[in-house]
């Protein structure tokens, strides 16, 4: 049964009374084991009370997240309303399965993928445990290096938006196009920026950072890792212990980061974090080009090297756009 929220809650879809009505509808569906679809089409709810009373408080009715997921589907929810719903459900400890991550993900949000690994029992018998999802104590979205590789292997053959086919005169210039397109699509879907990140920008960035070499040669003491030249500190910041991100963590170590597929995934994620920081700094929405300059450390820098590097990057961007 499809419940159009706008029609059912015509005059009031913000109050706790309205939320209570929704909760009773959900409870009835679960008790009768009937599937219902809550359709939020053409509606901006913008109410903590409605979502709290209607959905988050199901936790007080002893409804499990699994039960909710089995019978209730939420569709056409505005991205800002989704944030409000996430916030109030997190507050009540009701981590919804509908917050199930991207369709490519192996685990729902709140769990992360652990690859196949050996386990020794107390009797000394060694067994192999299949890859499985493991719960995160705080219920946040965590993606591991193993899952990044799995996703790329399974889904990156059918990416719709790929970067330009121009190789920018590099031998491996087109080698990572699917990976670049794939991770741009993934993080655009997850983090929903006002303007989607264009894969061409990542291609130009990689060209300027490493020239598409998975292990680029650098001067002695050069610490940056892999194709997008991530700093070891950045790799740390992206994880749960990095104290930099609030959600959508990328859990990997410096060894994992050498893999170009993982490196690009992490680099694009870091670029989105740079976007947030720059937005705060500039007090306006930055352009993605400005974010690239910030990634490369050009913001506020007046050195000759910065000017030269900026020219090179702009050159690549221009060539890809032609």
């Amino acid at each position: 049964m499809n419940i159009k929220i706008k029609e059912i809650f015509q005059t009031d879809y913000i109050s706790r009374q309205a939320g209570e009505k929704l909760r009773f509808m959900i409870l009835k569906a679960i008790q009768e084991k009937k599937k219902i679809v809550l359709d939020f089409k053409d509606l901006i709810v913008a109410s903590t009370s409605f979502f709290d009373e209607g959905i988050a408080k199901l936790v007080d009715e002893k409804v499990s997240v699994d039960e909710f997921g089995n019978f209730i589907e939420i569709i056409n929810l505005n991205k800002n309303d989704k944030k409000v719903l996430d916030k109030v459900t997190d507050y009540r400890g009701f981590n919804l399965s509908f917050k199930q991550a991207h369709p490519w993900r192996l685990c729902p949000i709140g769990e992360h993928w652990v690859k196949e690994h050996p386990r020794s029992s107390s009797r000394g018998v060694s067994t192999v445990v299949d890859g499985h999802c493991r719960k995160n104590p705080k219920g946040k979205d965590v993606i591991t290096a193993e899952e990044l590789v799995e996703i790329a292997n399974k889904h990156f053959q059918q990416i719709k938006k790929l970067p330009s086919t121009k190789s920018l005169k590099f031998e491996d210039g087109n080698k990572y196009d699917a990976v670049i397109g794939g991770w741009c699509e993934y993080w655009n879907n997850i983090l929903k920026p006002k303007i989607d990140l264009d894969p061409d920008l990542i291609k130009a960035l990689i060209a300027s950072e490493s020239g598409f070499q998975a292990v680029p040669k650098g001067p002695k003491g050069h610490k940056a890792i892999g194709i997008m030249q991530l700093m070891p500190e950045t790799v740390k910041y992206l994880g749960r212990n990095g104290r930099e991100l609030k959600d959508h963590f990328v859990e990997l170590d410096t060894k994992d980061a050498e893999n170009p597929t993982i490196n690009i995934a992490a680099g694009v994620r870091w670029l989105f974090r740079k976007y947030e920081l720059l937005e705060y700094k500039l007090k306006r929405t930055p352009t993605w080009e400005e974010v690239l300059y910030d990634y490369k450390g050009f913001t506020g820098s007046k050195t000759e090297l910065a000017k030269k590097s900026k020219l090179i990057l702009d050159g690549f961007l221009k060539e890809l756009k032609q």
Binding site: T11, D12, S15, S47, T48, F50, V84, Y280, K283
Partner: protein, 274 residues
């Protein structure tokens, strides 16, 4: 022949240059005096501008003067103001009881005022969609989030039955708020919580998990809403009974003051950079 002279004490209040969320002392003093006076003179000679918050305040002044049976005599109103703001306050019509809330409604391309009565009223969404659709999507969402929370507060806690919603765009600033003249927030809060004064009751109401609700308990209060809008640069004015809080998000500054004249109601007013 003896002559009987009667001295009638008549107060005159001079309104400030800009009627809005700033410089509220005169307006609050005037509102406070309505219950004790039969006639009050209101001098408009200094008034040059009415901000969106001022529209709501004037509607309240009008309604309160009828409820308190105090005659307001408006003097020295500039004709340009009357023309620009065709408010019920400026009409010559006499009302012996509160007029229909619809008569307060004010609609202009850059501002609107809605007087709502008898429960949750979401007409403001139509006004926003009609006149302000080109504002930033996230900003409009934050405005709705605040409106919805405040509308519920006005409906659930205030017994005034009437509340006033305003929204406007002026000098690249977004002004919006919800005002009511019901049971004040501290009066409602003190039924459930203990605080040393009204300023502390207002502060308490913004904290996590604080709610005066008796049915459907365990609300989230204003905390989550405020948490979500703190990223917007702007100002927030919160007045109820004897307390006043002015929070400046961009400067991370808060002014907490005792009001000189009690407000029997709750006014929450925001100003954000567009």
């Amino acid at each position: 022949m003896s002559c009987l002279r009667i001295n009638i004490h008549m107060q005159t209040f001079s309104l400030p240059r800009v009627l809005g969320s700033e410089r509220l002392d005169t307006v609050l003093s005037l509102l406070f005096s309505l219950r004790d006076e039969e006639v009050i003179h209101v001098d408009w000679s200094k008034v040059q501008k009415i901000e969106p918050a001022g529209l709501a305040i004037l509607s309240i002044l009008f309604d309160q003067s009828i409820e308190k049976k105090c005659k307001l005599i408006h003097e020295n109103i500039k004709p340009v103001l009357k023309k620009k703001y065709p408010l019920i306050l400026f009409t010559d019509e006499k009302f012996s009881q509160l007029p229909s809330p619809m008569l307060h409604d004010f609609n202009r391309p850059n501002a609107f005022l809605l007087c709502c009565q008898g429960g949750v009223d979401l007409r403001y969404k139509e006004n926003l969609a009609r006149s302000f659709f080109n504002l930033d999507e996230d900003l409009l969402f934050s405005v709705q989030l605040v409106f919805n929370e405040l509308i519920q507060n006005a409906v659930d806690h205030s017994t005034s039955e009437r509340y006033y919603i305003y929204f406007g765009l002026e000098d690249d600033e977004v002004h919006f708020g919800v005002l009511d003249m019901g049971v004040s927030l501290p009066a409602k809060m003190e039924q459930k919580y203990n605080a040393i004064d009204d300023i502390n009751y207002l502060e308490l109401s913004l904290k996590e998990g604080i709610s005066t609700r008796r049915q459907r308990v365990g609300g989230l209060g204003l905390f989550h809403t405020f948490h979500m809008i703190q990223g917007l640069m702007g100002k927030f004015v919160f007045i109820s009974r004897d307390g006043q809080i002015r929070r400046y998000f961009s400067q991370r500054k808060v002014n907490r003051m005792k009001l000189k004249h009690r407000l029997n109601g709750t006014w929450v007013m925001f100003t954000f950079k567009n």
